[in-house]
């Protein structure tokens, strides 16, 4: 009996093994298919052209929103960048140059009754993408006015503060006039109407037809790619916009995949299942991947700046000697080694001089003696002077992300050298953002990019931006109130040189009072298969990805 069972089992196993080795059966032909004439049947069928799809994998776990006026996370900024246009745009691949986008040209401002007027002539024939509710239609000044008014409304935009004192009106179908209560320089004005944050232009009719909530996952713009589908925690698919005003994109579609695990992204790229991946912010990773056959690694701006902010209302950080002691205890090169060149570099002022006008260079800061070069003996003396000869303890929360946890852990080890015990509670990234805005951290490490010096200084150091208690609570974690006048004066200064001078003065004061400690900037790292050509030189992109446009190609 046992032998029979054994024999049957072996036979079954053999059958299973043989069936596994057999080639896959072709799909059965539909029953109703008419018989083909012999000649036609013999001729090889013309294979339909394979769609050219670029498969991009990002480190995010899921989508946040595709309403461009709320998009703040990197994955959201990447996606809206492909779907929407603005009146002006940063040159693809180079965030330091403005060029016309929906506007025909970059206008010159006029002064009318003390107010500054900017008049934009719109391109004709720009088409809004078709949606379920509204077919494709031509974008006009009505859409532009609606969109900018939406950006200025705090209920419908996260960037409303940028549009205070601005009125927008349509002069005719293709002319839009923007009036500012207080004149500002082009350096400060163009970012408000450029393809970043509140400057993106949405199409009015589909937004009204589907409502604000649906728009977050069904965006309708005028960009080179149109929304096709969204699979939560998996991917967003964008397809080519055949009516794009700069010409039909060379790609048929972009698959934007959510893959938080670096190793999975790396394996996907190596195996050819992915074309572009978001890499690791590490010099060693860049070096290793650059040596892989068929893979190119790009390191480019903009550099997100990591800064250590001190809450000046919390003892013992309310004592400038303690803050300076901490600054003298920190070694920028220690932090830098965690990321390594070419990905990161030191910064010496709150506005990164490497990327923006108005920042202080390393030489300028050293000349002023405000670089706080590491000197732990001096740090201990300052602590003793402030009444803390044995140090003290502080407790902070950190995101689990490497870009935050690394600086916090390095700071923890360095501060231990002067007797300061820093306890770190690790939480998920969104929780950290929520908690630091509730003012729980005496010391905040914040990694961010802002489009100009005014935005940096206003959002981090103007009294209106103080977390919780400010008039418009934002990211002034230090509760500093000492440079409001300089920020406001620089904002309305039309002479670029004087404006830059004021921004520099403001930062000198920040360093003298050791309000925050500028640490390093981290560049963007992406890796791609060598057959991917972005269609532009890659220097800096505000949307923090290599930028996929109508000119991006796959040349297999």
């Amino acid at each position: 009996m046992k032998r029979t069972v054994l024999a049957i089992s072996v036979l079954l196993l053999l059958l299973v093994a043989l069936s596994a080795c057999a080639p896959a059966a072709p799909p059965a032909a539909p029953a109703e298919q008419p018989a083909q004439p012999a000649e036609e049947a013999a001729a090889p069928p013309e294979a339909p052209a394979q769609p050219v799809v670029l498969r991009y994998a990002d480190k995010a776990a899921d989508l946040g929103t595709m309403d461009p006026h709320f998009a703040a996370a990197t994955q959201d900024r990447n996606l809206v960048d492909m779907v929407f246009n603005a009146l002006v745009r940063y040159k693809p691949g180079d965030g330091s140059v403005f060029e016309p986008d929906l506007a025909v040209e970059l206008p010159e401002p006029e002064l009318v009754d003390g107010k500054q007027v900017w008049t934009f002539k719109l391109r004709e024939g720009v088409m809004c993408h078709p949606s379920e509710q509204v077919p494709a239609y031509e974008l006009t000044s009505e859409d532009v006015v609606f969109s900018l008014q939406k950006s200025a409304n705090p209920d419908t935009s996260a960037y409303a503060g940028e549009y205070t004192g601005m009125t927008v009106e349509a002069l005719d179908k293709y002319t839009v006039q923007i009036t500012l209560e207080n004149p500002i320089s082009p350096v400060l004005f163009f970012p408000k109407v450029a393809d970043y944050a509140g400057g993106f232009i949405i199409c009015k009719k589909p937004y009204e037809a589907m409502g604000a909530d649906a728009f977050k996952t069904h965006p309708v713009g005028t960009g080179p790619f149109m929304f096709d589908s969204y699979s939560p925690q998996e991917k967003v698919v964008l397809k080519a916009n055949p009516d794009y005003f700069r010409g039909r994109p060379k790609l048929d579609a972009v698959e934007y995949r959510f893959m938080p695990e670096l190793n999975s992204r790396e394996l996907g790229l190596k195996s050819g299942e992915l074309d572009v991946i978001n890499g690791a912010n590490e010099g060693q990773w860049v070096e290793r991947m650059s040596g892989e056959e068929g893979i190119l690694v790009d390191v480019y701006g903009v550099g997100e700046v990591a800064t250590i902010h001190f809450n000046m209302t919390v003892p013992p950080l309310d004592d400038v000697r303690v803050r300076k002691a901490i600054a003298y205890a920190l070694d920028r090169d220690e932090f830098l080694a965690l990321f390594g060149p070419p990905v990161a570099a030191n910064v010496y002022s709150q506005v990164p001089a490497q990327f923006l006008p108005g920042g202080l260079t390393e030489e300028e800061v050293k000349e002023l003696g405000l670089d706080y070069a590491v000197d732990r003996e001096k740090a201990k003396e300052l602590l003793a002077e402030a009444g803390y000869p044995d140090g003290f303890s502080l407790e902070v929360v950190s995101s689990e992300r490497e870009s935050y946890l690394k600086p916090y852990q390095s700071m923890q080890a360095q501060l231990a050298e002067i007797g300061i015990d820093l306890k770190i509670n690790v939480v998920d990234h969104p929780s950290m953002h929520q908690l630091i805005r509730q003012d729980v951290n005496p010391i905040v490490v914040y990694v961010a990019w802002r489009p100009n010096a005014d935005v940096y200084l206003t959002r981090f150091y103007h009294s209106d931006s103080i977390v919780v208690t400010g008039a418009k609570p934002d990211t002034n974690f230090s509760h500093y109130t000492g440079i409001d006048d300089l920020i406001e004066a620089a904002r309305i200064e039309l002479d670029p040189e004087k404006q830059i001078q004021m921004w520099k003065e403001a930062q000198i004061k920040l360093l003298e009072d050791m309000v925050s400690y500028p640490l390093l900037y981290m560049q963007q790292v992406t890796a791609r298969r060598d057959y991917v050509d972005y269609g532009h030189e890659l220097k800096s992109v505000l949307a923090l990805y290599p930028q996929i446009t109508e000119n991006t190609t796959i040349n297999k």
């Binding site: 695990e261 670096l262 190793n263 790396e266 690791a280 590490e282 060693q284 990773w285 290793r288 090169d333 220690e334 932090f335 080694a337 965690l338 689990e400 490497e402 946890l405 690394k406 916090y408 852990q409 390095s410 923890q412 080890a413 231990a416 306890k423 770190i424 509670n425 690790v426 998920d428």
Partner: protein, 308 residues
């Protein structure tokens, strides 16, 4: 007088011979011996990682003893350095010595493993004994609560408890203790139901002993061996759950070395610095194996059914 002396010595001799028999059975079980040996190595490593026992008396900070370096000392300029004679397990992503961190990490794993099993064991035994001994409605309520708790996988349950309590060593111990308690409760309940039918319990009751006295003096000692076996096996589970929770970032706060969080730190560097994750992974493997082998051995000698 002589007679009286003989009468009192007899049980001691019996007990000693019983212990000797159990020890002989245990010694004959080679896998159990291997488990004990490995566990002793881990315990020894955890205790002598640094010279805390001398430092306490000298009033200074402890210095590394078995660990070759300070596990918190960062050397960022040489981060992810490969294993070498100075750093046999290489350096991690902050430039810390991996061997020293693996050695110190044994403390966290053992502390969590042993303390959480103690909490879970005491809590579970109390619930199970009460339910089994009192019976009726109390039994129904307690055992249904236990069933509900057991319906959740241990990691999910640990996650839920930590989400409420927050991270940190003590909360982690408490969370895992709560996770383990239903298992102990079930075993204690079943054994109590069996033990309470014994004649010596009936005899104690007929002599007027109260419920509390019977439970503590007559039932608890007779269910302990089952609980000890369970504890040794579930210590391995507790260590594994701790590693899992640390791996997903809910464990011990940095920079304290914990094997789970060390593996997590290394996942970003699996292709260029596999040693960062590999060695703490091996440490978990050895420790879990040790407790499992030991637990199996104890079960073999303490459980009469297994002996048959």
């Amino acid at each position: 007088m002589t007679e009286a002396t003989q009468t009192w010595e007899a049980p001691t001799i019996q007990l000693r011979s019983q212990r000797q028999r159990l020890w002989r059975t245990f010694v004959r079980n080679r896998t159990a011996l291997l488990g004990l040996f490995l566990m002793l190595i881990v315990v020894f490593t955890a205790i002598f990682a640094d010279d805390w026992f001398i430092a306490v008396f000298e009033g200074r900070e402890a210095r590394p003893l078995l660990a070759p370096h300070d596990p918190l000392k960062q050397d960022t300029r040489n981060r992810l350095a490969a294993p070498s004679s100075e750093h046999p397990m290489g350096l991690d992503s902050y430039g810390r010595d991996t061997l020293s961190r693996v050695i110190y990490g044994a403390r966290v794993s053992l502390a969590v493993g042993i303390a959480s099993v103690l909490i879970g064991g005491v809590l579970g035994a109390l619930l199970g004994l009460t339910a089994g001994f009192l019976g009726g409605r109390v039994e129904n309520i307690l055992m249904r609560v236990t069933d509900v708790l057991m319906a959740f996988p241990s990691l999910i349950m640990g996650l839920m408890v930590l989400a409420v309590l927050g991270g940190g060593l003590l909360n982690m111990i408490l969370a895992i203790g709560i996770v383990l308690s239903p298992t102990f409760a079930r075993v204690a309940h079943g054994t109590t139901l069996s033990v309470k039918q014994n004649q010596y319990v009936e005899a104690a009751r007929s002599y007027g002993a109260g419920n509390l006295r019977i439970a503590i003096r007559h039932i608890l000692p007779n269910i302990t061996s089952e609980l000890v076996v369970l504890a040794s096996i579930w210590t391995a589970t507790a260590i594994r759950v701790e590693a899992n929770l640390s791996f997903i970032g809910l464990g011990i706060s940095p920079p304290t070395p914990a094997w789970g969080s060390m593996i997590r730190d290394g996942t970003q560097h699996l292709f260029n610095a596999p040693w960062v994750s590999l060695f703490p992974g091996l440490a978990i493997l050895i420790t879990v194996l040790a407790f499992n082998l030991l637990g199996d051995g104890l079960r073999d000698i303490l459980d009469p059914r297994m002996q048959q």
